[in-house]
Symmetry: D2
Subunit: 338 residues, 4 copies
C-alpha cells in the first residue's frame, strides 16, 4: 500500500502512519518528493485497508498496489482452468454454447427445447425454474416443479443442466435434483450469504456480473465462492448498465480479454440479456467468441412469440442452428473448435 | 399500452396485435398516422407486457403508459404516510436523523455511541451486526452477538434501533431481538426472496436504493414488500454509481423531489455512504433536508480513526452535534422541525 | 407524437392539447383508456416537440413515435452506402483498417509508419496533427507542419490520409492539404458549428461518438453534417464512458448491429482508444469485425515506447501485421474480405 | 509519480524505468516490497505522464501522486476568489441567482423577463442567442440579433448579462456587445480551441461541466482558460449523465463541496438543465445553496408554455420570486446573504 501525505503534513503525522503500518506487522519505506511525501508499506498488503489510513491526520490518500483477489487470480495460477461438467469441458479449446428457454413452462416445451438444443450441436442446456422479476405481479417461475420438468427433459438427451439459484434455502433442493451448474444471477452477485453457501458445494457455478459491478468487485465475488473451497467458477458477462437507452444493457466485450488476463477461470458471455433483442444476438455472439470467450449462454425457445418471459430476446431453433455455424467459423480463426 | 407498428406493417400483422390485446380482455384503439400506425390497448394495462408484442411481426416497439407500481404510488394514496417507530414519527413534519457507527464492535463502543447519538438530539440509532463486505477476507460483522450488544446499548437510552438484514434465514432472529427497523442494503434491493419475507412482517423497513437501480425499479422493489402486506417502507437514497471516481458514489439528490411526487412513503438520505468521506457529510446532509428529505442515516463513531470499518466516512460526536444545529435551521426554512 | 394525459385531466385540458396539435397542421386521435386518455398526433411529427406539450396543464408526458433523423436513416435509404476514398471503398464487402500513429512526430517517423501500414496490407492511414489533450501543458500536436509531413509520407505510398479537425478556422487549411478523410473527435461530436462547416464540403467525414452520446444523439450529429449536403459520413465507435475503471472506455460493440440497422452509412470501430492498452486491441478488433463493422481505426507506431502520446495503446508493426491475418479470417466467416 | 513493477520484473527492466525518470530530470526512490517493487519519481511530476512508463517492459501500472492542475487549485491559492461582474460579486458571502429565459425570442419577451428578474431580487440575467440543439431542424437561436435584443433589455435595468458562446469565430462580436459573462456550454467543455480563445480575454467565464466530465477533467478545462491569463472562471454544475431515465440528468450535488475544496474559484449550479422539469427546480436550488454553492443559473420565462425552447423547465415569474425567499433562508443558515 502507498500512503500519500498532504503537502504540509508534519513529522508527527508521518510517524503516526509509520507506527500504524508497523502495528500490522509491515515495514515502511519513506520517499520524500518535492511536493509530497509518500510512504510505502512493505509486507503483505492484504492485511491493510485504505480505510485505516485515510482518516488519519495529514494523509491525502492511500492506494492499494496489489490486487485483493488471490485464489481466482491468474498471477498465482498461470494455466487455464478447464471445468468438467459431466464430461463436457468448459474453458478449454472447445467453446461451449449453453442454450435453452428463459423459463421452464411445460414438459412439452422443455422436451422440444432439449431436442432443438441437441440438434443445433450444443452440449449444455439452460432454463429457469425460479425467475427474478422486476414486478411482484409478474410470473415468478414454476419453482420446484420446474426443476423436475427440466431434469426429465434434459436427462432424456443426456444434456447437463444450468439453472438459477436465487434463495439460499433452495440449495438443498438444487442438490437433490443434481443441478449440474448453479447460476448466480446479476442481482445476486453480491448476495454474500448465497455465495458462501454455493462455495461449500462442489458444483460448477456460473457467476453473472452485477449490472454495475466493476471487474474487481466481480473477481472478489468469485473469491467469496473460492474461499469456501469451490473453485469451479465460470464468469458470465451479461451486459452492464450505462446511459444508453436503445438497448437494455451494453455488452462489455472488453471484459473478455481482461478477465482472461486476470483469472485462470473460464469466461462466457450472455448475448441475449445483454442486448435484449433476438436480432442483436448473432452479432454479439460472434463478437464474444472472436474476443476470446470460452462459451455463451443463449436463449432459445421453440416458439419465441409464445414464451412466458423475455420473448423478445429468444432465438428460434433455426436461428440457433445458423448461429452455431458462424461460431464454428470464428472459433477456428482462433484455433478453437465449437 | 401503446403498440407502434412498422411503417410497412400489413393489415394481417395489425390484426394479430389487436387479437392479442383482446385475448387479455382489453380493447384496441387504432390510430393511423402518416408514417406509423399506433394501437392503444384500452383496459388494465398491468395485464400486458411489452414482451408480448415486441417479438410479433410488424411491431416496432411497445410502450407502457401507466406506472407499474400501485400500492406504493401516490396516485392512489395522495396523503403522506407517517411511519411510527416506537413512538418516533418518520415522514411527518419532524425530520429524523438516524445516527450511529458503521458496525457494532464492543459493548463499550455501542454504549458510548448511544450516548453521543442521544446528546446530539437524534431519536433513532443505527449500527451494523452483519456487514456486506466486498472482500471475503474483511471483517464480516459480529453477527448475533452484535445484535445483542446493540439492543442493550440502545435500550438503556430508549433509542429504537435500525440494523441491516442480509440473509433471509436470520429474519426470525431479528424478530426475537425485536429490531425496530430492518434495513435492506443496496446489494439486496432486488433480492426478491428477502423482500417477500420482510413483506410478511409488520416491521418498518428501510429499503436502500440499489447502486444502479432506476427510480422505477426501486419503487417496484418496494412494491414487492408492500404486496406481502407490509406498507411500512422507507426509501433511502445512498448514492448511485457513475463514471466519477473522485467520490465513492454520486448522491442523487433529484431522487428526493421525484420520490415525494411518485410515492406517499417517507424518503431519507444516507450522506455517509454517498460521498464516502466524513468531510463531505455536512454539505450533503444539509442539501438532503433542503431538497425535502424526511430524514437521514448518518455514520458517527466515538473515535472514527479506530473504527473497524468505513472509518473514513464517520463523523465524530462533535461533528454530529454541529450538523444537527445546521439541519434544524434548514428544516425551519421548509416549515419543518428537527 | 403521443400525448398522455393525467388521470384526472379535464375536458378543457384535453381540448387545449388538441388545439395545439392542430395549430401545427396535424390532426388528433383521442383514445380514452381506463386510467389514462392518450392523444395521438396524426401528420408530420417532426414539426412537434415534447416540449410543446409537457408544460401544458393536464399533460403527464409526451412521446415521439418517429425517429428524428431522416437523411442518415436506413428507413428512407435501405441499401448500404459505400464511400469512395480516393478509390478505396468503405462500407462495402471489403473491410478497411485505417492504421497509423496517434500523432505526427517527425518525417522519419511518418515515412516509416506509412511503410509499415502498407506492408500490413492496410489501404488507408491515420495520424494526428492537431491533438485534443486533457492538459494545456501536454503536447498539442505539430499543427500545420504535421499536416505537411503526413501528406508527404502518405503520398509516397499512395495512401489516402485521415486526420482530426478540431478548430473550424482550420478547415480551409485541411482542404488545401487535400486531407482525404476529416475526423471529428469524440469531444466535438456536438460542436455543431464544426459539423455544419464540414457538412458544406464533400470530404468523407469520420464522426466519432461522443464519450457519453446516445445512439440517437450520434445519428442526429450526423444529420447536422448531412443536412449541409455532405452525405459521406462514417460512424466510428470508440468506447463509451461507464463506471468501470479497469479500462479507459467500454467498447460498445452493440452499437455495430444497431447502427447497421438504423443507418445506411458505414460503421467502423476504434479499438485503440476504447481499451486504451495495446494488449486489448487484437481481441476488440476481431470482435468488431465479427459484429459486422465495416472497418477499424487502429493506432500503430514504429516504436510504441517512444511515441509522443498514447504510447500505451499503439501496436507495433509486427502486431499490426499479425492482426490483419486474424481479421481476414473473421471477415471471411461473414462473407467479406479484408 | 509511482511506478509499480510486475511481480517478476527483472533488474534490467527496473533500471530502464529509473533511467527514464532521470532523463526527465527527476530522481528515483526504489521500494522493494514482498510482492511488488515500487519506484517513486522525486521532482516535478508534471513533466511525466503514465504513458511514458506503462508501455515499458516489466511495468504493471503508474500512478500520478500530484494533481495535474495548478492555477485553479486551492492548494496554491488558499483564499476564495471573488469575481467582480460589473460590480456584482460572485464567490463571496452573497449568493447570486442568474435568471432569465432559455433563449432570446423578442424584444418584448426580453424586456418583460428583465423586469421579472429584477423584481425577484436577482442581480444578473441569462439568455441564449446561440442555442446548441440536438437536431439541425430545431430553432438555433436568434444569433447576433438576439445579442442586440438582450443587451438593450438588460441595459435598461442595469443587469449584467450572461450568454453562451459556441463558435470561436463569434468571440469578437461578443466583445463588441460587451457580453458581461461568457458561458461555455456542456458540449464545449473540451472544445480546447474555444477555451484557449476565451482565456485570452479578461471576461468572466462560466464553464459548464461536460455531461460526463470528471471533476479532474473539468478542472483541467478551466486550467486551459487560466493558462491563457484569464483567471475569472466560474464552475457551473448542470447535471451529469447516468443510467437514470426519469430525469434528464443527475444533479451532482457532491461536486459542490468537492470543488470548494479543490479550487478557489466560484461554483454555481444550474438546477433547470439538471432536472429538466420546472417542478424539480425549487428543491434542487435549495439543495445547491445548502451544499455551499455560490449561486445558481435558473431559467425563468414570462410565459413558460409559450417558450420557444426548453419550455418544460422554465419557472414562471411568481415561482422565481417564491424561490428567492427560500434561498435567502437557506443562505442565512450558512451565514450568507441572498
Amino acid at each position: 500500500m502507498i500512503i500519500v501525505m498532504n503537502r504540509d503534513a508534519s513529522e508527527q503525522e508521518l510517524d503516526a502512519v509509520v507506527r500504524k503500518i508497523r502495528e500490522f506487522g509491515l515495514e515502511a519505506n519513506i520517499s520524500r518528493g518535492t511536493e509530497r511525501t509518500v510512504i510505502g508499506a512493505i509486507g503483505d498488503e492484504r492485511k491493510l485497508s485504505p480505510d485505516l489510513f485515510n482518516p488519519m491526520s495529514g494523509v491525502e490518500q492511500s492506494l492499494r498496489i496489489v490486487k485483493p483477489y488471490k485464489i481466482v487470480a491468474r498471477e498465482w495460477h498461470p494455466q487455464d482452468t478447464v471445468i468438467d461438467i459431466k464430461g463436457v469441458p468448459l474453458g478449454g479449446r472447445q467453446i461451449q454454447v449453453i442454450a435453452g428457454p428463459c423459463s421452464v413452462e411445460t414438459q412439452e416445451q422443455m422436451d422440444l427445447s432439449a431436442e432443438y438444443v441437441k440438434q443445433a450441436g450444443c452440449r449444455l442446456m439452460r432454463g429457469g425454474a425460479f425467475k427474478p422479476r422486476t414486478s411482484p405481479y409478474a410470473f415468478q417461475g414454476k419453482g420446484v416443479e420446474g426443476l423436475d420438468i427440466f431434469r426429465r427433459a434434459a436427462d432424456r438427451l443426456g444434456l447437463p443442466i444450468v439453472t438459477e439459484l436465487m434463495d439460499v434455502r433452495m440449495l438443498d433442493t438444487f442438490l437433490e435434483y443434481d443441478v449440474d451448474v448453479i447460476q448466480i444471477g446479476t442481482r445476486n452477485m453480491q448476495n454474500f450469504d448465497l455465495l458462501k453457501e454455493v462455495g461449500r458445494t462442489d458444483k460448477p457455478v456460473i457467476l453473472k456480473r452485477g449490472m454495475s459491478a466493476t471487474i474487481s468487485e466481480w473477481l472478489m465475488a468469485a473469491e467469496y465462492i473460492a474461499a469456501g473451497g469451490n473453485h469451479n467458477i465460470i464468469f458470465c458477462e451479461r451486459g452492464i448498465r450505462t446511459f444508453e437507452t436503445y438497448y437494455r444493457n451494453v455488452l462489455d466485450i472488453t471484459a473478455v480479454p481482461v478477465l482472461k488476463k486476470e483469472t485462470h477461470l473460464p469466461v462466457i458471455i450472455d448475448p441475449s440479456h445483454a442486448g435484449g433483442k433476438a436480432w442483436m444476438v448473432p452479432a454479439l455472439a460472434r463478437a464474444a467468441i472472436a474476443a476470446g470467450a470460452d462459451g455463451l449462454l443463449v436463449e432459445m425457445h421453440p416458439q419465441p412469440c409464445e414464451a412466458w418471459c423475455d420473448a423478445d430476446q429468444a432465438l428460434d431453433p433455426g436461428e440457433l442452428k445458423a448461429l452455431m455455424g458462424d461460431l464454428k467459423g470464428v472459433a477456428e480463426v482462433l484455433g478453437r473448435t465449437a
